[in-house]
Symmetry: C2
Subunit: 494 residues, 2 copies
């Protein structure tokens, strides 16, 4: 009987039309969205990596070095020691009595006790109260201004917070998003996915990648001319991919601009706040500037455990803080967070450990040494790579101020432009592809971030380990010279 | 100079209009969306909890018991031992040489090595390959059908996967979502937030909460009549909040229905697949049914570490598997995942540990004992609470088959309905509020899940610890009788 009914069913199925799920069914806004940091160059790198894993291969290098993404531990940076010891213990039902220092035990016990049921239970949707208090204390110590734990949301990395805010504010083409060009493409991808109208304001490469208010105003007007009202202004400070650390005057001018546009929310991507190098302008939070100016503009500030010196990308911990946002709006954000129940609890704890490091003793000393060593190494690497790039023929690289990236401009010979066109690629994508295929280095073409028409760039991290950075830089320089030479030669072939 | 310019700026700011972010700016679809599992009853519970924390209080109970949410560890369920030992070690730079069993060390080492840079690095956006292979093996062992790691995506809990699929398929009112009533309100919230047209099909309480195809067809036609085309059919099996475990014939009928509607994707919420009790129909995956019927309908199956016997809600680990979905569509899902970089790595590892438990020795024995003890305890508690509820005057509770919930129907006296109306509440919300205020028990009103007009229900978990379940049940029964009595009495007051 069973068999018969199955046969009958199968026969009836054969006559109907369902043939699986095809691309025609997909939300066109998802198809349209682009996210270059993990785009086709990385796909190609994966293919090459598969070749490299074979016993023999024809590539002139033996490993892929991923400078496409700010993923420090993937390139050998050690995880933060104290934080990992606490995490190792907080997942146990009890912290062991032996072999664990007092400070580690106390922190692990406190976090475990801060959620009814421990780390395996859903936390409050907005995030564990104890950790939101730790974040508030960190912010108020940083800015010298009171911070409210109820204005803080813990999220799965900063990206999830940006998604929540975009979803909250953007529901169709009438809603505009202003983002820098170049920009970390999360913002353009989100604006596209949520069907908003994207306006790009150009950063000024000739002025250390400043964010000129005149450009922001032009982008604002452009969005208005296209029939939309800008609802979010994204400022990434320190900049990604530019590394610019904005001085106070620039921040004030931006706040003043936002204040003149009721309904505009300042989205302050401040995830690189620990990554400011040399004599660049020190990091100042937008919250502090808004407070000092007695402004009432709405600000959402994002932070993350993935950057700074912790580099805990895989744990997906982050937070955002709301300033000048009404209670009713906050309730909507809590509902949004509730639908996914809560952000991952271990990522939340990683946030707590980032903002509230060891307080004294041996652990504090070790923590401070670790932090200083990692940040100064990042700075040395930034300078070395920037200097080497800037020295190349046809390459110009702004002196790095912060973050984890360099965004050099490249001038390519006409023959290279023509070859790129013939390959159906933007010139910088063509360059990045050739770089990968010649050296194993993965960088992201500038076209993935936005750039002034007719200019070409790429983004590279300076995250390879310090004892390899010179070799990496040399590989890049060697490629670059050969690339130029091949396109200057009469029968130029690479 | 600086001071002067600040004063001038502050003066100019005072004349403009930005006054923070208000509710008018919010996406109306976010405002419209509802998610009752963490709704006003829980807000009230938090207020009461604050009172209970005081030295003295007037409440006739001393603790809040959260039966509103499937959060087992919050109610005392122990975390899975082996999995936590591996997690405790995988966050360390190296697994210690001593004090760790061979199996724990091998698993921790394997996971650490599976991501370049370890757990602090971003993984592949789709999820760690090793773990996707573990999931594929689990599925193929379960179903006796090959599974492809490339068809599997690791996600921050099952909820994130549901969000990705909804975002992929629903972009406006032209796109329909069919979800059960009652349903876990994630689906209606997602449909609303992504601006889709929601159609509800009614489950049949008189037939163990079956999912009749006739009702699904009616909902389909209703959505079409409203000008939309249904793109997703959500089936929750075992059911939430109903607990129903669907027999093979029911699954076949649903597959046949989907096959007759090209473009319709079967969203198979199978997160309770381990939670089937007694002589209820054993869990059968939709993938297996589709395979057995030689059907080509698109299916997305969701699973999670939050349920089953692991109950690892806080770690936010989950996956979905695609069946009959084109490569192009898969690429869009990879892009969606990429924009948030990757799901949290420790949650991914928790998925690996769920699908690939210890293989032999002492650890296997301990694991099997732990699993059997937890699942049989859940079953005993389900039966005890269901029996007690069903015995109450005016309460009818379907015999539990699976999941972690009961969804009893309650018949309320007219005077109670009137009192609810006077309080501006749905009758079951009124009932749940009074229950909370009388006993400290938190349940969710049926109106938050959808129910047939004129019927009233509530959802309760049966997760309080076994040694407390009788007391909890008695509290509930005591309240219920007093509630009814108060509304039957001439001058009925509660």
């Amino acid at each position: 009987m069973k068999r018969l009914s199955l046969v009958a069913l199968a026969a009836s199925l054969a006559s109907v039309q369902s043939e699986g799920l095809d691309i025609d069914a997909v939300n066109p806004k998802i198809v349209e969205a682009q996210y270059a940091v993990r785009g086709f160059i990385l796909d190609r790198a994966r293919e090459i990596e598969a070749d490299l894993a074979q016993e023999s291969h024809d590539w002139p290098f033996d490993e892929i070095v991923r400078c496409n993404i700010g993923n420090p531990q993937a390139l050998g940076q050690a995880p933060p020691k104290f934080a990992r010891e606490v995490l190792s213990n907080v997942v146990l039902p009890k912290t062991p009595r032996w072999g664990v220092s007092k400070q580690v035990r106390e922190r692990a016990d406190a976090y475990r006790a801060a959620i009814q049921g421990g780390v395996g239970a859903y936390s409050e949707s907005q995030g564990i109260t104890l950790i939101r208090k730790e974040v508030a204390k960190f912010i108020s110590d940083r800015d010298g201004i009171a911070a409210d734990p109820e204005a803080i949301f813990l999220t799965d990395g900063a990206s999830a917070g940006v998604r929540h805010l975009t979803q909250l504010l953007v529901s169709g083409p009438q809603d505009g998003v202003l983002a820098p060009a170049p920009q970390y493409p999360l913002y353009s991808a989100m604006a596209t996915m949520y069907d908003g109208t994207l306006g790009s304001y150009y950063l000024d490469e000739s002025a250390d990648w400043a964010a000129p208010v005149a450009e922001i105003a032009k982008a604002y007007d452009d969005v208005v001319a296209r029939g939309a009202t800008p609802k979010m202004l994204v400022i990434i400070n320190p900049g990604n991919p530019t590394g610019a650390s904005l001085p106070r005057e620039a921040l004030e001018a931006i706040v003043e601009f936002v204040a003149s546009k009721p309904g505009l929310v300042l989205m302050a991507d401040e995830v690189y706040q620990e990554n400011v190098y040399g004599d660049a302008p020190a990091f100042i939070s937008f919250k502090k500037v808004v407070h000092d100016l007695k402004s009432t503009i709405p600000v959402v500030s994002f932070h993350s455990v993935s950057k700074g010196f912790t580099g805990e990308c895989g744990l997906r911990g982050g937070y955002f803080e709301l300033t000048n946002v009404s209670e009713e709006v906050k309730e909507q954000l809590i509902k949004l967070a509730s639908v996914s129940l809560c952000s991952n609890v271990l990522g939340q704890i990683a946030v707590g450990l980032m903002v509230n490091p060891p307080v004294d003793g041996r652990e504090l000393k070790a923590y401070e040494d670790e932090k200083a060593a990692k940040l100064s190494s990042l700075e040395r690497r930034a300078n070395e790579v920037a200097r080497a790039l800037d020295a190349l023929d046809g390459v110009s690289c702004v002196q790095p101020q912060g973050a984890m990236y360099l965004f050099p401009s490249i001038t390519l010979p006409d023959a290279a432009l023509a070859a790129a066109g013939a390959a159906g690629l933007a010139p910088d994508a063509f360059y990045a592809l050739k770089l990968l295929e010649s050296t194993g280095l993965v960088v992201v073409p500038g076209s993935g971030f936005g750039q002034k028409n007719g200019t070409w760039h790429f983004r590279t991290t300076f995250l390879p380990p310090e004892d390899q950075i010179t070799a990496v830089t040399k590989r890049l320089a060697g490629f670059h010279d050969a690339f130029l030479a091949s396109f200057k030669a009469p029968a130029g072939e690479l």
